[in-house]
Subunit: 286 residues, 2 copies
């Protein structure tokens, strides 16, 4: 990718990109809109930042402490500033010179969605088309494993039947969409990267109960998950106090597409020059 | 804005937005591309994150310590995780439970550009069209003062004459562009929000020497800077070791447009329904 001038590397797992790749992201954004159109979702876009209050409520810290990014800021006077400046200049660890702010980096986009329905009783299912930059602290040179990336999520919140239907729909539709983009697609039972020894048990349960599936495609020789389909049961309904019409905690499900991984997989499959991509792929994107 | 369903508020200075506003951002992105086209810039897009090594080198901490966001992550074991979880659950300050990572939030987009030319001697001026989300830790309810926002920058790096010409060009062109969008425009000598008492002197010098100008438009009754034109002299050339053809530290200049502020000013000027905006404005954007 870098050899073809598509990416510029700025740090491990962090890249800038050029006009050609930006056009691929725009094309994927458009094609995914068309794909979800029949559900008439509420369209919401979010900044890369999540309020800390939402994050703390979300139980993310319990499950994935190794992945989140908290935003710290300097909040001192001129004396403290001198000490901070010196620490930075001398290459010292200046972790203790800043304090936690009211903000964290968004670990996924749907965490910004649930609070909007918090404390309400839904009159039927709600479907949201949400997108934004996410952060995961797992710097790596593994293809497609980025620290900062764009996630496009189609989320439904409603009855257990609504959530199960959404999971079932996208279990079929996500791989079909990716096949139309000319990708070699495999669907796998999956689990989230829960932390620690208790986490391993949670991951096994999740896998056994069929609550998460991933759509895996190759980036070169590496199989990479470019989409995931998730059934949350009443996890977020309970946490954010969203109730379905019968007064019970709402269920939710979402499908998420990683735009960078998808774009990298398309480049790996069809070559670095997007003008030469197959006509049927170009027609879907542009 | 919120009353018209254009924005959803998630925290002080932090908003999600809907399809209509997203279309305005896309329109502004396109119109600004057209505006800078004749300079044939290298197009680069960046994630909201900057490598900490670049940030530490940039001298941002010396000038604007009150504004940056540093990214912290949890890097402990299962015992440390229990302590972290308990602190979060009990609403304690958990600042000390995380450590600084190799990443900070991008305070401006051009900080991602200079390192790409670091250690080189330029064969003529380089012009870059750069864009990405930026972070400034100044949570506020003031219109247009956001914690996280998109900045579009046109940067030139070259001889002192190249940089001066770029500043002069955009000193004329930025306000002319905004007038064509139907905005009531004023250009003002400006200074950056340097920290502390030494900072006040630096700000006065910057203003006296005409190194920064802002294009100010109203958002309702509030005058807000939606674009700034900046001459950096050899500041970044010196820091990042970029040299112009004669071997001297390169000079640089940039113009930056705040997309959110611009969009808010357009809504304030032309109303919440973009379909009813004046034809000449619509023609520029879409």
């Amino acid at each position: 990718m870098r050899d073809h001038g598509l990416l510029v590397n700025t740090a491990t797992g962090l890249y800038g990109w050029g006009a050609q790749l930006e056009a691929v992201y725009e094309g994927l954004t458009r094609a995914l809109s068309a794909e979800a159109e029949d559900a008439r979702p509420v369209v919401l876009r979010f900044p890369p930042i999540l309020p800390r209050a939402v994050f703390e409520k979300s139980e993310y810290v319990a499950s994935f402490p190794q992945l989140f990014g908290a935003i710290h800021a300097f909040q001192g006077d001129e004396c403290a500033h001198e000490i901070l400046e010196r620490a930075v200049a001398e290459g010292e660890d200046w972790s203790d010179r800043t304090r936690l702010t009211d903000f964290v980096l968004a670990p996924a986009v749907c965490y910004s969605v649930y609070p909007l329905y918090g404390g309400t009783v839904l009159d039927g299912g709600k479907t949201v088309d949400a997108s934004g930059f996410c952060f995961r602290h797992e710097p790596s040179t593994e293809p497609g494993r980025l620290v900062s990336f764009r996630l496009r999520e189609f989320v439904t919140i409603g009855s257990p039947a609504d959530a199960a239907a959404w999971f079932g729909t996208w279990y079929e539709r996500a791989p079909a969409f990716l096949r139309r983009l000319g990708l070699d697609v495999r669907v796998e039972a999956a689990s989230d990267p829960f932390f620690g020894t208790t986490g391993q048990v949670m991951a096994e349960n999740q896998r056994e109960e069929g609550m998460k599936a991933e759509v895996v495609v190759p980036i070169g020789d590496h199989p990479v998950a470019v989409a995931s389909i998730n059934c949350h049961r009443d996890h977020f309904g309970r946490i954010f106090d969203i109730r379905s019409a019968d007064g019970e905690p709402a269920h939710s499900a979402c499908v998420g597409f990683g735009l960078e991984r998808l774009a990298f997989a398309l480049v790996a499959a069809h070559g670095p020059d997007t003008v030469r991509w197959p006509d049927e792929v170009r027609a879907l994107l542009w």
